[in-house]
């Protein structure tokens, strides 16, 4: 509906005008561009070094911003009462959340696009060989961080403290990369309680390992459609949980 788009648009505007935000992105770009200086100490492997470092830095910087904005989102608006100005208009809580999440995801997309474009320019300049893999890497970074957005908003709605929301979101980001190890651990342990907990975690944590395309050691042919469906499914379920919690929340 139109109002959802309006909320999304406004969220994007807010983020773009946020000075802290822009400074951060600018700093990130600066760091990425300075990876060129690694050329001298990379001994003919500068393409690999700039490529790997660049992609890592893009994810790192956009991740930090994403965690911060999504985890503090609802908390900030609730504490500052500005949420009343929206919920007393013809906007339901579901619409509000959906609009906010949409706005954040588009912001993430724009950030990755800008930084990815600049890194692409650097790589071309350094005469590195760039294939479609680069684009896939960026897309998967986008997928990963979209999940971080909804996880962040979820904690923002559950928690009352900015710090815990941020910390939990960050922890889930890290754990999501190690879920296979978690599963292996669960298989080894005999204690039923611990085993069940670990298996449960394995099921609900986001599968960041598979989404970590840029870190695939060798090329494998992936079913892009299925993985996209996974991301969609995960987004949907998390949004539903957010809606349920938020509808009950006292503001």
């Amino acid at each position: 509906m139109k109002q959802i788009i309006a909320i999304a648009k406004f969220t994007i505007k807010e983020n773009i005008s946020n000075r802290l935000f822009n400074a951060f992105i600018g700093f990130g770009l600066f760091i990425i561009m300075s990876t060129v200086f690694l050329k001298e100490i990379s001994l003919y492997e500068e393409s690999k070094v700039i490529y790997d470092s660049g992609l890592f830095l893009i994810e790192f910087f956009v991740l930090l911003i994403t965690i911060f904005t999504s985890a503090t989102l609802v908390l900030k608006e609730t504490k500052e009462k500005s949420i009343y100005l929206v919920l007393t208009k013809p906007v339901t809580r579901n619409m509000y959340i959906l609009g906010k999440v949409l706005g954040l995801i588009v912001t993430v997309f724009l950030n990755i696009a800008i930084m990815g474009g600049i890194l692409y320019g650097i790589l071309v300049w350094q005469k590195a060989q760039i294939s479609l893999e680069y684009m896939y890497s960026l897309i998967f970074i986008f997928y990963k961080l979209s999940l971080v957005v909804v996880i962040g908003v979820l904690f923002s709605v559950i928690s009352d403290s900015v710090i815990t929301a941020n910390m939990f979101t960050f922890s889930i980001y890290i754990l999501g990369h190690a879920i296979y190890e978690l599963k292996m651990l669960a298989d080894k342990i005999e204690n039923i309680v611990v085993k069940s907990i670990l298996e449960f975690l394995y099921r609900i944590l986001p599968n960041f390992r598979v989404l970590n395309y840029k870190d695939y050691l060798k090329h494998i042919d992936i079913d892009f459609g299925k993985i996209s469906l996974y991301v969609l499914g995960y987004l949907i379920i998390t949004m539903v949980i957010i809606n349920i919690v938020f509808n009950r929340k006292k503001i």
Binding site: E40, L55, E181, I220, I227
Partner: protein, 224 residues
């Protein structure tokens, strides 16, 4: 409120179905990715485990690569250290082939190290994870030849590598051998070959080789 509750239930259900549908595929990919990783303990350290668990193996391997280049270039470190560095890199990314070429030849061919055993270990590991690589076998062959003092086999192995791969160390070794051959036999063909390699080494990234190349080219100017 009822409307939104129904909406949530239906959509939530859809989401669960989607996830169930893709879950086995995701599991397969996970398994494949896991099996791709380095199977072994060599190179395991707090840093590398960290990198591996947090999902930036390639970035970590790039940084460790830079560290390795700097360590080798500073001539301060023992062969053990070079080998350890190489193991850490291969622990994270066993398909990073230059790691084996570089580290393997450094520990084996540099006179002050001369650790052929380390060289073999590194290069064999490289072969294990990259059996289709064109040059790794030649590297192994060349290092094996060097360990036995078999100059001719060494030259064959290394020169075939140098046709396609840029490796300043190998060039240095080969040029040196040709220079020695020339000094013994005075056969101009040999010095021409040496000059050919020194010429290529003029823009070597490792300063040592660059300087040597320029010096030698100057010395044997007439054969340029």
């Amino acid at each position: 409120m009822l409307k939104s509750r129904i909406y949530n239930i239906i959509v939530g259900f859809m989401g669960i179905i989607i996830l169930i549908y893709v879950s086995s595929y995701m599991g397969n990919v996970e398994g494949e990715l896991y099996r791709m990783q380095y199977q072994g303990e060599e190179g395991k350290s707090p840093i590398t485990i960290n990198n591996k668990l947090m999902g930036f193996k390639k970035f970590g391997s790039s940084i460790l690569w830079i560290k390795q280049v700097l360590d080798v270039g500073s001539f301060d470190y023992k062969a053990e250290r070079i080998k350890e560095n190489s193991e850490k890199i291969s622990y994270l990314d066993p398909y990073f082939i230059s790691n084996y070429y570089f580290s393997g030849t450094v520990v084996a061919l540099i006179k002050s190290y001369s650790r052929y055993d380390y060289g073999f270990e590194i290069l064999k590991r490289g072969l294990k994870y990259n059996p289709d690589d064109k040059y790794i076998k030649n590297y192994l062959g060349g290092v094996a030849a060097a360990s036995k003092g078999d100059i001719e086999s060494l030259l064959i192995s290394f020169e075939s590598i140098l046709e396609d791969v840029r490796d300043d160390r190998l060039m240095n070794v080969v040029a040196y051998i040709y220079e020695e051959k020339y000094k013994k036999t005075k056969n101009k063909e040999y010095i021409k070959k040496a000059v050919y390699y020194w010429d290529k080494m003029q823009n070597a990234k490792e300063e040592l080789y660059q300087k040597r190349a320029l010096k030698k080219l100057d010395e044997y100017r007439k054969y340029n």
